[in-house]
Every structure is written in C-alpha cells, then in structure tokens.
Amino acid sequence: MSLLEAENISIEFGGLKAVQNFNLKLKDHELFSIIGPNGAGKTTIFNMLTGIYTPTSGIVKMNDVVMNGKKIHEFTHMGIARTFQNIRLFGAASVLENLTIAMQSDAKYGLFDSLLRTSKFKAREKEIKENARELLSFFELDKKESFLAKNLPYGEQRKLEIARAMATHPKVLCLDEPAAGMNPSEVEDLIGIINKIRSSYDITIILIEHHMNMVMAIADRIKVIEFGITIAEGQPDEIKNDPKVIEAYLGKEEEQYA
C-alpha cells in the first residue's frame, strides 16, 4: 500500500498532450521532488494529484482509493494539501483567520450549534483558535496573527501558505515552487522550515522547485520532467550526473561547441 500513487496519468488540453504517462509511488516520510524546465507540466501534475484536473487517462490513488473524478475538497479530506505557485491566500482575512478557515474539518459542530452558540460550539472554536495559534508560532508568524494576509511581506506570505496547508492536517504536502521569487537568505530560511516540518510531523512532501541547490540539498528522490514526459528518476547524485538531465537543462553538448 502506498500513500499517494499515480499510475500512467496523462492529460490533454484540446489535443495538446501536457503530461504523458506520469507514474508516482510515494514512500512514507520521503521528500520527493519534481523538477524540469518551464512549461514542462510540473504544475499540471500537481493539479492532477490534488484534484483540480482529472487526468484524461490513468488513475490517481490515495491509500488505495481511486480518486479520479472526486471533488477537490475530498482530496484534501483524504490528506493531500498544497500551496500555489502564484500565492492564493485569503487576502482580506487576518493571518489567524487564514488558518482557522483551513481548519474546517476540525469544526465538528452543526449549523444549529453555531447559530445558538452552544457550549460544544464554544469548546470547538476555542480549540481551533488554540491550534491555529500553535501552528502560527511553529512558523514564527505568531506576532503577526492580526495582520491582514495581503499586507504581509512576500516571504511571509509564502510561509503562511505552507502554514495554511499544514492546518488541514495533511499526510502529503505538495509545495509548488515555494522558493519562487525569494532571495538566498529567505531560501535558507525556507529549507529550515521544511526540515522542521519533516522532523515534527508525520508527513510526506512533494516539491516542485527551480532552485537546484535547494532540491539537491533536501530531496530524497527526484523525478525530471520535460515536455510532459519523465526523462529521469533517482537520487540527487544520480540525477546530477544524468546526461539526459544535463541536456534538458543546458542543451546538447555538440550544439554548445558548434
């Protein structure tokens, strides 16, 4: 049994094959990275793994349950959470609210509990708030809980997105270019946070990233995609020396010297 599994998934947009025969079998607690040039189809893969797109062929499985055709929020309830390449926070809500919104599944009370504010409701809400604050201090955002999300600096918005994804209690966390637009010290900070998440939570991470150094430093396994096709898979060291990968990133050697 595998946590998240993709069997030969492909997707087409009006005849254009964006991703072909992508396979994935996540191991528990690993950090799996998907890399590839721009437009290779990495985010499209994420969109299929998180339910935003349904693959044209092939199946996505979570805990051996076929997920094809399920709603996005059902993917989340199965334990998949994600962040977005272009940040999608709840801008006009406060930092704390961004997390409490994501803690939807913890609110195990009915409509009438909330309209009448029963003691059950109050207890749950208190718990949710406490958990959210705890998570905020884990991400060192606790001092900013009443800021509006859209007013945070860029790096902290990225951090808040990860925190928000963690608020859904995921088993698999999908990070879509979390270091995009960050400066080297912010990237260092981010690596620290990812390591901290891995050591504190029972979690598996899939990472899409452009920062090669970062991927090589933290990934356990890497898959390289080009034009929607998997061209290499393996440990960071193997990938580094794979001629196909070098070709995809740097172009053919003959061409360079020609």
Binding site: T43, N47, I52, F84
Partner: protein, 293 residues
C-alpha cells in the same frame, strides 16, 4: 402563413431597434467590462431630444434622428467621464452598482426637470404612414424605413469597427487593455469614443421607440434597455455580431410570444436568458475565459 410573415415583419422592425440598443451595451462591455444599466436612459433622453427638435423644426425625421443621436452620445460620454471613469480601477461589482446609481439618477432627474417631467408626452409623427400590399401582406412605410435606417447604422458601425483606426483601437483595448496602452493606444480616448458611439446608436433606438409607440415617458429607457440588454447577453455580451443577431432574434420572439399571450411576453425574455446562460454561459457567440491555476 400570411399571418406568420406579417408577424415576422413586425418582429424584424422591433428587433432592429433592439439590435441598435444592444450594440451599445455590448461595445461598452467589451471595452470596459461594465454592464452599463444606464444605457437605456441615454435612449430615453434621446427620445426627448427628438421631441423638442421636432417642436423647433417641424417633423423632420433626419433632423430629429441626428439630434437624438448626438444628444444621447454626448450624455453617454459625460456619464462615463463623471461617474464610470473614477471607479474603473475598483472591484467590478462597484462599477455595476455605480451604473445602477447613474440609471436611477438620470431617471429621477428627468422626472424632476420641468421640461421632461413625470407625465408622458405624445411623440410626433415623423414618418407619414403609407400601407403597401404585396401578395396579401401589408407592409407600412414606417417599417420599411426603420429597417433600412437600422441596417445603414449597423453597416456603418461594422465598417468603423473593422476598417478604421479607432475601430482597431477599440478591438485592441477590448482584447488587452494594458498591452494596447503599451502599444501606444490612447485608452481613455478609445473608451470615450466607444461610449459616444454606444449612446449614438441608443439615440436612434429612442427615436424608433417613439415612432413605434405613440407616447414617451421617463421609464421607456429602462424598459427597452432591459430587453436590449438581454438580447446582448443572449448573443454573447462583448460580441458585436452576437448583439445584432440577439437583438433581431429577441424582437421576433417577443412579437410571436405576445401574439400568443400578452402577459408572458416579457417573461419569455427572461426564460430564454436563463436557459441560455445555464447551458451556454457566455451566450450564443461569446467566449468564456478560464482562470489559470
């Protein structure tokens, strides 16, 4: 059979009016993404202008038409400058709310102004009505003239949009405002002219309304405007051909529906609107843009 052709001609007559008015809705929407609910009120002011022009110069169709069109065009421009331009950068729904406010403002102001007032006015006879009998079908000179003028205006508009510099600018702005600004298109000028042309056509619609129905009052704009707007949405708002076809289609449908039952005439409009929006959300000829993840 003759009866059906007779109704069809009525439908075309009404439809050509709807087409003129819905073109204005569609052009403005295409360029600033605003549902301008005040558009019908330009039409009403145009009809009143024609009323006063006819008092000054006798019942001259061309003069009345020109006066109405220019007046409506100018008012459209003015409302854009004063009300819509300042809210252009705000969230979308606030420009819609502003448009609702402008519509109410124009109507209530007209009601308060002494020379328009709340009491309906009789519209002058601008076309002397002659009846022609062709193969047992009666066609009036009014119908022929109206359809011809509407066709001329529609062709003129198509020519402007497709073959002139300002038309090119209009198409560019509706595709991508920022990119066309970078390419040196004067955005504000283009928007202003679009409003003027929209109002210009609405003015003609106002005169036609007066010709078809003997009295005009302050609320004719919202009545006709609503129908023309639905026609524009059905055709695919933002799409010129869609607005023309939608307008004519709705004119014909309305005439047939009211010949069956007068009460459901207007209901049919909304019924068709709802059905089309549910099954083809962007209208018959429109395109829906998808959000990229």
């Amino acid at each position: 059979m003759n009866n059906i052709i007779q109704l069809l001609i009525y439908g075309l007559q009404l439809g050509s009016v709807y087409a003129l008015v819905s073109l204005g809705y569609t052009m403005v929407y295409g360029i600033v993404r605003l549902i301008n609910s005040a558009h019908g009120d330009y039409l009403m002011l145009g009809a009143y202008t024609a009323f006063y022009v006819s008092l000054l110069n006798g019942n001259n169709l061309i003069l009345c038409l020109l006066g109405a069109m220019i007046a409506s065009g100018l008012i459209a421009m003015l409302s854009d400058q004063l009300a819509f331009k300042p809210v252009r950068e705000q969230p979308k729904f606030s420009s819609l709310v502003t448009a609702l406010g402008v519509s109410l403002f124009i109507q209530n102001l007209s009601r308060a102004l002494p020379f328009i007032g709340p009491i309906p006015k009789p519209f002058p006879t601008l076309i002397t009505k002659k009846l022609y009998n062709i193969l047992d079908i009666t066609v009036s000179s009014t119908q022929i003239l109206m359809i011809i003028i509407a066709l001329i205006l529609l062709f003129l508009l198509t020519y402007i949009v497709n073959n002139t510099k300002i038309g090119r600018a209009m198409r560019a702005v509706s595709l991508d405002r920022d990119a066309s600004a970078l390419m040196g298109v004067d955005i504000n000028k283009t928007i202003t002219i679009t409003f003027f042309i929209g109002g210009f056509l609405a003015g003609a619609g106002g005169v036609f309304y007066g010709i078809m129905y003997p009295t005009i009052d302050v609320s004719i704009g919202s009545l006709l405007g609503n129908k023309a707007f639905i026609a524009a949405v059905i055709g695919g708002i933002g799409n010129l051909n869609g607005a023309m076809i939608g307008g004519i289609l709705m004119g014909v449908i309305e005439i047939f529906a009211t010949s069956i039952n007068a009460d459901i005439g207007f209901g049919v409009f909304y019924l068709i609107l709802i059905i089309i929006l549910i099954f083809k959300p962007a209208g018959l000829f429109g395109k829906l843009t998808n959000e990229k993840v």
